[in-house]
């Protein structure tokens, strides 16, 4: 701050607190709704203070699931496990595939190096949403519907991560590679013992971003999976809300909403420092 202005400082705090309240209010309402009996959430105004059914609702949801025609009584822990597996494979897969590709592009001269670079760059431009139908067809032809492979592999190619690693490798001093060569280390050893430890911060940042990306996938699992066994939690919620003719069981739906956002929010908050650094750097 340049000059002392108590009023301006007060206004700044006030606006920030107001902003936080607006951002957090829906979560509070959701959490409160998830701790009541269904009958209490049937008429307005709904309560704004937690009720007594916290343990009951969450236990029912996690272990029995919701009984309705579309969600079909799949217990939520099952959906959470699916989401977790999907997010982990996508995050780690993306990081691994991009890391080795960036290493090859930076540390080797090979034919069509630039072409390879541009082909990878193209993937940045085409979000799943714009090429849904043909991509779906490819996956169906490969027999990968209703499988973890189908859920994850098509999302593993990542231009963003490749770029980040490439930028980073370019800043690593050439002397390190020279020294490694003189000492007789081959490229794989150099990558594993020198580059990998140096990239720790980037790996952490990318992990946060990619884990969130993987966990929050919606359209892709929606198309890929017809088998309830592969329901992910984000899709599951949609099935719980859109029930025909009756009201959704709000307390359970809201408990599912809370559980569905807990893991990615936890990852972002726990790894906040790397996340912000990574976010600002990858996107530029």
């Amino acid at each position: 701050m340049v000059e002392r202005r108590p009023l301006a400082t007060f206004i700044a705090h006030f606006v920030l607190i107001l902003g936080i309240i607006v951002v957090a209010f829906p979560i509070w309402v959701t959490f409160v709704a998830s701790t009541h009996y269904a009958k209490d959430i049937m008429t307005a105004p709904i309560p704004l203070w937690p009720g007594s059914q916290f343990v009951n609702n969450y236990r029912t949801l996690l272990f029995d699931g919701m009984i309705n025609p579309t969600a079909g009584g799949v217990p939520l822990w099952r959906m959470m496990t699916n989401s977790f597996i999907m997010a982990m494979i996508i995050a780690l897969g993306k990081i691994f595939v991009s890391f080795i590709a960036a290493f090859a592009i930076v540390y080797f001269r090979f034919p069509f190096r630039l072409a390879v670079f541009w082909i990878i760059f193209m993937t940045l431009m085409l979000p799943v949403e714009v090429r849904i139908v043909p991509t779906f067809k490819v996956v169906a032809d490969l027999g990968m519907l209703n499988s973890y492979a189908g859920l994850t592999i098509p999302l593993i190619a990542s231009a963003t991560a490749t770029f980040l690693f490439r930028q980073f490798f370019l800043t690593v001093p050439d002397e390190l590679a020279e020294a490694a060569r003189i000492d007789g280390a081959g490229p794989v050893k150099f990558m594993k013992d020198i580059l990998l430890p140096l990239s720790r911060t980037n790996l952490a940042a990318l992990f946060v971003i990619m884990f969130t990306f993987g966990w929050n996938q919606y359209l892709w699992p929606l198309l890929m999976t017809t088998d309830r066994q592969y329901l992910t939690v984000v899709m599951g919620i949609q099935r719980m809300i859109n029930v025909a003719d009756t009201d959704p069981q709000w307390p359970l739906v809201m408990a599912a909403v809370i559980l569905a956002m807990l893991p990615p929010v936890a990852v972002v908050l726990l790894m906040q420092r790397w996340f912000i650094k990574g976010l600002v750097e990858t996107e530029k």
């Binding site: 080797f108 082909i119 940045l124």
Partner: protein, 293 residues
């Protein structure tokens, strides 16, 4: 920039880029080319026969009032989302940049919606606005406004806009704050010594220096509003009522998977790809220019 020290191996680099290239070809390049190919075909819903029809699918789209409406709707939607999400984020970031005490705490409390899935954000807000039990709908009703997004198209449109804005504020906030903190203090101090107040300083110094960040975020927000909001629409309104919230990406999905009009869906995909490519190219050109001076 090139590396001085390079390793030599005839096969290793190719082996290392193969996984990435394979996935890119199978799941990106090939489907994209299929979309291009299908967009010039007229196919019956069962895929039994198809006919080459040049640009008929595109012509049909641009003659179709429904498609044009969806286009206009998407444009309004992305303008509203980008405008509100960036405006509110900028306000919060400027305030967070001012406070010395508790800045980290505020930051932590504001960034977490980034991690919430669009579909989940939609579920949150659909509950808040539920005509019978939603808390916001209840407050609105007590002011005499009868909110019902299941019947009223404008209400539904407002609902998806609010959910989309809510989710995007945190992302914009992170970037604006980083941008603000990168502005040299000496510039602002010099202006203060010359007698410029906080408002004047903001508009004549801070805002222009922030323009690269603003421009970058504008492109990102438009892309977000165009594509990432599918989850919000699908989980809350399913494009209804009476197509009032059918944005372009939802229409591609609906026509392709529910309506089985493959040619038209492919043509819509191609138009969307074109939009993304234009946006990306604009962004990269701009960033490159900025780097060069």
């Amino acid at each position: 920039m090139e590396k001085r020290a390079v390793f030599r191996s005839p096969w290793l680099p190719l082996a290392l880029v193969t996984p990435q290239l394979l996935i890119t070809f199978v799941f990106f390049v090939w489907p994209a080319s299929q979309a291009l190919y299908q967009s010039v075909l007229l196919e019956d819903p069962f895929g039994l026969k198809s006919q080459f029809v040049w640009f008929d699918n595109f012509m049909a789209l641009f003659r179709n009032q429904e498609y044009l409406d969806s286009f206009g709707r998407t444009a309004i939607f992305s303008a509203l989302v980008a405008g509100f999400a960036m405006g509110l984020a900028l306000l919060l970031a400027v305030m967070a940049d001012r406070v010395v005490k508790g800045a980290t705490g505020y930051k932590t409390m504001l960034i977490w919606p980034y991690a919430v899935a669009p579909a989940v954000a939609g579920a949150l807000w659909v509950f808040m606005f539920n005509p019978r039990i939603g808390i916001v709908a209840y407050v609105l009703q007590s002011f005499g406004y009868d909110w019902n997004h299941q019947i009223n198209g404008h209400d539904a449109f407002a609902l998806i806009t609010i959910a989309a804005v809510w989710k995007q504020i945190s992302y914009n906030f992170v970037f604006f704050l980083a941008g603000l903190q990168a502005i040299p203090r000496s510039l602002i101090e010099a202006a203060a010594i010359d007698g410029a107040g906080p408002t004047k300083r903001f508009w004549t110094i801070v805002f222009p220096l922030l323009s690269p960040t603003t421009f970058f975020l504008l492109v990102v927000n438009i892309v977000y509003a165009f594509f990432d909001t599918f989850g919000i629409v699908h989980a809350t309104t399913s494009g209804g009522p009476a197509k009032a919230t059918e944005i372009l990406v939802y229409k591609v999905f609906n026509d392709g998977f529910i309506g089985l009009d493959l040619g038209s869906s492919a043509a819509q995909s191609v138009i969307l790809m074109f939009i993304v490519i234009v946006l990306t190219v604009v962004q990269f050109r701009y960033i490159e220019r900025r780097v060069s001076y």
